[in-house]
Amino acid sequence: MTTSTEHRVPVTVLTGFLGSGKTTLLNRILTEQHGKRIAVIENEFGEVGIDDALVLDSEEEIFEMNNGCICCTVRGDLIRILGALMRRRDRFDHILIETTGLADPAPVAQTFFVDDEIRDQLRLDAIVTVVDAAHVLDHLDEVKPEGVENESVEQVAFADRMILNKTDLVTVEHLDLVERRLRGINHGAEIIRAQNAKIDLDKILDVGAFDLARVLADDPAFLTDTDHQHDLTVTSVGFQIDGDLDVDKLNDWLGELLGTRGVDIFRSKGILAIDGQPRQHVFQGVHMLFDGTDGRPWTAGEPRTNRLVFIGRNLDRDELESGFRGCMVGASG
């Protein structure tokens, strides 16, 4: 499944607990001179009113999809509102969706995979999670009743970028502790430290494909870490393997893996080398749904390295890696 991305309008999803600085960041995005025309869909009433931006209110409506995928829920409100936005003549350069502090990011992300009209016209650019350095550990450690997800763990697990905000309120030691904890849950996302949500907006708007190469290169130990298998806490597993993938084997394996384990696998992301393809294949999945697009061309002499990260619970590195190796061209079975 490959779609051309160029014409699609990028969408940033902004998550974060109440008090994390999410609204401060939103106001910053709307008032700073960045030359982009932005439409904002708000789920929480903020005092945002900017001449150049269109701000629309929305109330979360989570719908189950009848597609045999038990964890597949979508946001009906977003399908409606995004559809109406895309019918306007004044096309926006960027759309920003602000979720409530308690929102589950999965239905938001899944909306971009499930609805054809949205897939054709919009591209989920990044899920940006704002984290309060002083309070995030309390939120992450909060014990929930059985069957109830910890929303802050989910928001961290789903992030493509994390903004570690309010760094001025804690010690450097505490910051390092928080950062290690965030990386333990989500290894694929870049962490940006900030005070008062002051960040370079280029880091979160229209960032394109996540930079897995950099993230994985940062920390070689991550690529062999097997501490967390059969662990109910949310962790990440990643690997990088050189060589070309057989696209049919890959689709079969991912379909089977995410179809059976998709409840536990929150997100999957990859930059992959498909046999015979001159361009990188950018893969991303949310629970049981996955999708691929063409990325940049492989350059001359560049090793065709596959990089893949899974974020979820109960992840077995050996099982995932051997499954993935089985998709290489020439692999047996």
Binding site: L54, L56, E59, E61, F63, E64, M65, N66, N67, V74, G76, D77, I79, R80, I81, A84, R87, R88, R89, D90, D115, D116, E117
Partner: protein, 333 residues
């Protein structure tokens, strides 16, 4: 067919806003709703009589049967206008993508977020009924009002509990047959669901559509149900025993998803608009099941066609996303 041509010339008008809906009243005047909230009234000859912005985004428009009132649904409510375009009243509350006037023209039922409100011809609220999620389709069933929302179709009475026709899924559009025997919904999960109004156990479910179904229309004689969902139009035959186990007629012309469908007043012709910019007309009844039928007439522009209606003289009105509305006189085939 030469009678179609008498006294009505084709024309083209620019309304300054992406067309999202249009409606022709019996004397040939055209009301056009725009994506940025405009309402434009065009004379039968295509001249602009009135233009005003009523909201941040219009979604639907409907004339009362005697053409003295106009209701406009928007992203944040409904307005009732007189025939000159002056706003008489309305209701600012939630999403209104669906409207229906009662047969006598004294009341209009309008979606209002998670509710349906019934307004008098001056826009004052007479009664309302609640649904658990956004109302996406509305139709009158004698003195009662049918609504489509996540969970099924409800037929509301002003004073009694609703008649519930359940469906687990997200409903996007509703059509009730003019003889009031059937209610049909187009759904997010790419299925069509049909209930026998007032009877249990006679539900039908049609699947196999390539995309969600956001437009469907019963023919004026209630024997055919035309549905979008993908680029083809699928027509189910409700004559005699109904469509159970039957093969539908397929009408083919479009290369992108069908956005709007409209039967000619006589029911001989069906028009379909699509995102590829094409407006096509078929002799739906003459199509043979299992053998896709080609259009008998077409109008093509290079941006999405979004809205359709027929006037009383057999002229077809169509609207496009580049703010063009055209009155088309059919080829005398």
């Amino acid at each position: 067919m030469s009678a179609l041509l008498t006294g009505h010339r084709p024309w083209r008008a620019e309304v300054g806003d992406a067309v999202v809906a249009l409606a022709v009243c019996r004397d040939g005047r055209v009301a056009v709703a725009g994506a940025e909230g405009s309402v434009t009234l065009l004379s039968a000859a295509g001249g602009i009589d009135h233009r005003a912005v009523v909201s941040d985004g219009a979604l639907t428009v409907s004339w009362s049967p005697n053409a003295d009132r106009l209701a406009v649904g928007s992203i944040d409510g409904v307005d009732v206008l007189d025939a000159t375009g002056a706003i008489l009243g309305g209701h600012r509350e939630g999403w209104c993508s669906s409207l229906a006037w009662s047969a006598d023209g004294t009341r209009v039922a309008a979606a209002a977020g998670h509710a349906v409100v019934v307004l008098g011809a001056d826009g004052t609220e007479l009664w309302r009924a609640h649904r658990g999620s956004t109302v996406t389709g509305i139709a009158w069933v004698r003195r009662r009002v049918a609504t489509a929302a996540y969970g099924g179709v409800h037929v509301h009475d002003r004073s009694a509990a609703p008649d519930v026709m359940p469906f687990t899924g997200s409903l996007l559009a509703l059509s009730v047959s003019p003889d009031r025997r059937w209610a049909a919904s187009g759904n997010q999960d790419a299925t069509l669901k049909v209930w026998r109004v007032g009877r249990r156990g006679e539900e039908l479910a049609m699947s196999g559509y390539p995309t969600k179904i956001s437009t469907l229309q019963f023919s004026p004689d209630s024997t055919l149900l035309a549905s979008g969902g993908g680029s083809d139009v699928t027509v189910w035959d409700f004559a005699g025993a109904g469509p159970r186990g039957s093969t539908p007629r397929i009408l083919r012309a479009h290369r992108k998803v069908v956005t709007s469908l409209a039967w000619s007043p006589s029911g001989d012709l069906l028009a379909g608009a699509a995102a590829d910019g094409r407006v096509a007309v078929w002799r739906a009844r003459a199509a043979v099941p299992g053998n896709p039928a080609a259009a008998v007439d077409e109008v093509v522009r290079d941006c999405a066609a979004t809205a359709l209606d027929w006037d009383g003289a057999g002229r077809l009105l169509a609207g496009w996303a580049d703010s063009i509305v055209a009155a088309h006189v059919l080829d005398g085939t």
